[in-house]
């Protein structure tokens, strides 16, 4: 395994040798001083949003620009000549009109500023909603664990927020969005324009952004800050997913090492490829695969990344003591200690998702947000219902409360990528499939002795992949004109779009799995070498709260800790051993 890791590092180093920087905006043909043409950051927010941002509902701009002159080849094409003449006439008319009505132009400045301000407001407020999802994750994960580990599980969910955020502030944001180009809906600020690319098959492959470190320089701009807030809370959503799968046996120190890695590099790398202008988003432009890897709000970028990390950590850590016998056969389920926590947390998450999905438009002026919000709630409902009935009628004769919650979250995860591109019927179907998928997936991992305390692999990993793939099947072609720079709307197989979009999604999902598996294995062994990942067996039986954190989650309550851990025949446990070690 170590050889694999070093091999990967060598490959990355070799790639760096051929890296070159590419500016997203081409340099001007003439040679005025660079400082004059480079986009200026606007930290005060007084220069963001002007007449150029004023547009009607169809996206037609108030301010017209002169069309570029036709080349000799273009002049032979009558369609191009006609389009040029129309655009030229509109531009000449506009100039003449603007001279007679200067007030209209000044009003347009105000309209443009207000339009951008609405988008800022929308992005920030939905970002605040997503931040609250941290509380939802904390409750779901803690509720599904045992009472003796409540303080430890809650602490991991708490500390990932500052740890992930600071890593993202340090360099994660620059890696992910440093080569973004223009922030379209928020005034078009183009200062984050430095993408490291490598040329393969004669096409540029964007690998990593390289601007906006510590939100300084080009990063010190109001639009960049709004984007930072919104993307930071998304990153923290990913960051907190693996803590559930690896709970009840993971050393807090090892978790903190993971906390340093997730926001700095683990999340931003694949994130750049999909959302930061990297190579997966360019599959459409460069290779004609639909609109490239389309992921509207993060089924792959946020959820599948978290799910894959969860899978690797849960697999490498091994199952919790007492759940399986020595042959990996499931002998005793470990039951949760607080179902009300789980359900409250699920509702908080479902509420936060109204920020997660509609907010990903980054535009309150994009009225598709209504469709996105309704699709989101429909998929959550069908997901919850499908999982409940599948457990009740098909699998175990009882409607398992923990699986109800997993089902709702599975529906939400699956609709995250396609939320903007499918109809209400499509969203409902996506939710139903997600609800059944999550149950079967939980059973599968249990059979494979990969012990996922909360179902994070099934909810976020498996359904994240399903959500992305569903775009390639169910996108109905009513939205997404110009997405990832490809004209035309996003259309899936069942709506006559062919398989191209599906292949792009499949490439994205596969890339996510491979990349995050390798990164997770690297981080796991880094923590293994530095501090070790798994707590001692005695600590696990005693409960991680006191040995790891120094305080119980529920001080003053009497708990039969032995009864909480199913003890295999022939195992013995001496009470008090851990406490005396902890004191020494």
């Amino acid at each position: 395994m170590k050889h694999l890791f070093f091999g990967l590092a060598a490959v990355i180093l070799c790639c760096c040798g051929t890296l070159r920087a590419q500016d997203a905006t081409p340099p001007p043909a003439a040679a005025p001083p660079a400082a004059d043409t480079a986009p200026k950051p606007d930290p005060a927010g007084t220069a963001t949003g002007a007449a150029v941002d004023a547009q009607d509902a169809g996206g037609n701009h108030f301010l017209l620009t002169e069309p570029p002159a036709l080349s000799d080849d273009d002049k032979k094409d009558p369609a191009k000549v006609k389009a040029y003449e129309e655009a030229k006439k509109a531009y000449v008319d506009y100039i003449a009109q603007s001279k007679t009505e200067p007030l209209a132009v000044r009003l347009a400045d105000s309209v443009g500023h207000n339009r951008v301000a609405i988008n800022f407001m929308w992005t920030l407020i939905t970002g605040f909603l997503v931040m609250f999802m941290q509380a939802g994750f904390a409750l779901v994960e803690t509720g599904l664990c045992r009472a003796k580990n409540a303080g430890h599980t809650m602490s991991m969910n708490f500390m990932i927020y500052p740890m992930g955020m600071l890593g993202f502030y340090l360099c994660g944001f620059a890696f992910m969005f440093g080569g973004l180009g223009g922030i379209g809906t928020m005034g078009g600020y183009g200062g984050l324009n430095h993408e490291l690319t490598v040329n393969l098959f004669g096409k540029p492959f964007g690998l990593l952004g390289w601007k906006g470190f510590l939100l300084q320089g080009a990063g010190y701009d109001t639009a960049a800050f709004a984007l930072f807030l919104f993307q930071m809370v998304f990153m923290d959503t990913t960051a907190t997913i693996p803590t559930g799968a690896a709970a009840e046996r993971w050393k807090f120190s090892a978790f903190m090492i993971y906390g340093c890695c997730i926001g700095t590099i683990m999340y931003p790398l694949f994130g750049n490829w999909v959302w930061g202008g990297g190579w997966l988003s360019q599959l459409g432009i460069n290779f004609g695969l639909g609109h490239g890897h389309v992921d509207f709000a993060g089924s792959s970028v946020v959820h599948m990344q978290g799910g894959v990390i969860a899978l690797i950590f849960a697999w490498l850590l091994g199952p919790r003591f007492g759940k399986y016998d020595s042959h990996g056969k499931l002998v005793h389920p470990i039951i949760p200690h607080n179902i009300p926590f789980v359900m409250l947390g699920t509702f908080i998450l479902a509420f936060g998702w109204f920020g997660f999905n509609p907010g990903s438009s980054l535009a309150g002026t994009d009225l598709r947000i209504a469709v996105i919000a309704v699709n989101t709630m429909l998929a959550s409902a069908t997901g919850a219902l499908a999982a409940t009935l599948w457990m009740w009628w098909v699998r175990t004769q009882k409607p398992d409360p923990s699986m109800m919650c997993n089902g709702m979250l599975a529906g939400l995860v699956a609709i995250t990528a396609p939320c903007a591109f499918v109809s209400a019927g499509g969203a409902s179907i996506i939710g139903i499939i997600a609800g059944v998928l999550v149950v079967e997936s939980v059973f599968l991992w249990d059979r494979l002795a990969i012990d996922d305390c909360v179902g994070a692999i099934s909810v976020h990993g498996v359904n994240g992949a399903w959500g992305c793939l569903s775009i390639g099947l169910l996108a109905d072609g009513t939205y997404g004109d110009g997405f990832n720079g490809v004209s035309g709307t996003v259309r899936g197989l069942f709506y006559g779009g062919g398989l191209n979009q599906f292949w792009a999604e499949l490439i994205g999902v596969t890339t996510c799995f491979v990349t995050l598996s390798l990164l997770s294995i690297g981080v796991y062994y880094l923590a293994e070498v530095l501090v070790g990942n798994r707590v001692d067996k005695e600590v696990e039986i005693e409960g991680l709260d006191v040995p790891e954190m120094g305080i119980t989650g529920y001080a003053g309550m009497v708990m039969d800790k032995q009864a909480e851990t199913p003890m295999p025949k022939g195992e013995h446990y001496v009470p008090g051993l851990v406490s005396s070690q902890a004191k020494a």
Binding site: P333, I335, T396, Q397, D400, D446
Partner: protein
């Protein structure tokens, strides 16, 4: 004096308490306990896997009574705790040598 210890099912506490109050017994200690009773164990399913529930929640009543009260109290508890012929609790009676009241000044 006699000490009476009764293990009953949790949801019967209120009616037992009222019945004892009718007999003029107004002081008792109530504890939540769990009892192992193999003949009452049953299995449940969590996320598709079966597990055995053998430690069942019970309520333990402790009463210290005068000798003449004991028979009525035991009868009342037993009558109210019956459940379809299945054993649903137990009452123990033992002797008390001495009792001292701790009083505030």
């Amino acid at each position: 004096m006699k000490k009476l210890e009764a293990l009953i099912e949790p949801f019967r506490l209120n009616q037992v308490k009222e019945a004892l109050a009718d007999l003029g017994i107004t002081a008792m200690t109530v504890t939540e306990v769990r009892g192992l009773a193999r003949h009452q164990e049953h299995s449940e399913i969590y996320r598709g896997s079966e597990y055995v529930v053998d430690l069942l929640p019970k309520i333990k009543l402790e009463l210290v009574l005068e000798e003449h009260e004991v028979e009525d109290a035991v009868t009342a508890i037993v009558r109210l705790s019956k459940k379809n012929g299945v054993e649903a609790g137990k009452v123990f009676v033992s002797g008390i040598d001495e009792a001292t009241v701790v009083q505030t000044d």
